[in-house]
Symmetry: C2
């Protein structure tokens, strides 16, 4: 039994993962958590391909490496603006992300989240700004899976960088034409401490009362 | 203390809500759950406007009613294809949704989720299919808030239909030009049983091994 708030408040990105396999029953509970998530019209317009095959994982890792290198270089450039503990913290994060960039293919399971937009009512599709509503029927499942990882003592993190290599991912995993990819979640037992303390803005900075910007209290 | 898997497996849409207020400490815990959610680069590019003002809630309810009427009519047309228990179940759902359509403004709190796309790395923005990745930094917070509602005994449901009235919502809630809305979650104590059993596809229909469509076992 895992306390809900305990799981939420310790869900952090775990980027150094051991190669040991995830037992089938543990994986099953993580996938069940995803399956419980609500979706628009209860359509569940998502699927997960759980990649355990060694060669497929290596090839996905090979697709991820150059994407991370590009993104990581940009993130590293931003380090200049930081000082002291904030900078040290960001450097530790980048070192862990570099490790994942080199080793994603060695995580024992890669959960590849797919979605089908034909099964979604995307109510903001025609607005003159980026659309996000389609994600409302997919990312709750992903959040459930990550919370389940905390409960199971399994490390996890999430990347959307492989959308840049979606064509190659679709060929590798035989994803049908009308399905697409929206996230990859490498999971595995943690090398270090695993899930734990997180750093987030306080509610008072994120939540308002009756008007945007008005304090809640 | 609420068990994580218990909360996930009983999170259902609760559409008949009592008008009684939500105590501040309960609301605070629901918002804290949202604040704990991960987001791309830990940027937290979302905000919540918690609407408790009676007139504002009424006006949001007035914006929701015609949107639901349109959507509900389409949903009702699909009833013809169903028979027996499936049809009866769908009719009960539609009756509850009609109730919400008429009474959303009476829910004691409307949580309006906002996001800023300038703070997001939308990795699928340039792909030749609907983009969903922006939602990856918003809907995990929303899922956390809904799970917290289960823990607090508070009913909740989610609608994205008010994106069709985004301009009016932005004026009502004084939302800045570069922020947008992606969901409204009416919350309140349930009139009937509240959260409980859910109906979802089994993991075997949603999750595959190594290739899309290949059984996991």
């Amino acid at each position: 039994m895992t306390d809900l708030y305990e799981a939420m408040s310790t869900l952090r990105a775990v980027r150094r993962l051991r190669e040991d396999p995830i037992p089938d029953d543990v994986l099953q509970r993580i996938l069940q958590a995803a399956a419980w998530a609500p979706s628009g019209g209860n359509v569940q317009p998502w699927r997960i391909v759980a990649v355990r095959d060694t060669e497929l994982r290596e090839r996905i890792g090979d697709l991820y490496r150059p994407q991370w290198e590009k993104y990581g270089a940009a993130a590293r450039a931003g380090l200049q603006q930081l000082q002291g503990e904030a900078r040290a913290k960001r450097e530790r994060m980048l070192a862990a992300a570099d490790h994942l960039g080199d080793n994603m293919g060695k995580a024992p399971v890669l959960l590849v989240f797919c979605f089908n937009p034909d099964h979604m009512a995307i109510t903001d599709a025609d607005l003159d700004r980026p659309s996000v509503v389609g994600g409302g029927s997919v990312y709750p499942a992903l959040q459930n899976a990550m919370l389940a990882c905390v409960s199971e003592g399994v490390g996890c993190t999430l990347t959307t960088l492989l959308c840049y290599a979606e064509d190659e991912m679709k060929v590798l995993l035989q994803i049908p034409d009308d399905w697409y990819t929206c996230a990859v979640m490498p999971i595995g037992y943690p090398v270090l401490g695993g899930h734990g303390p997180i750093s987030r803005r306080p509610v008072s900075k994120l939540c308002f009362a009756d008007a945007f910007g008005d304090p809640l209290d």
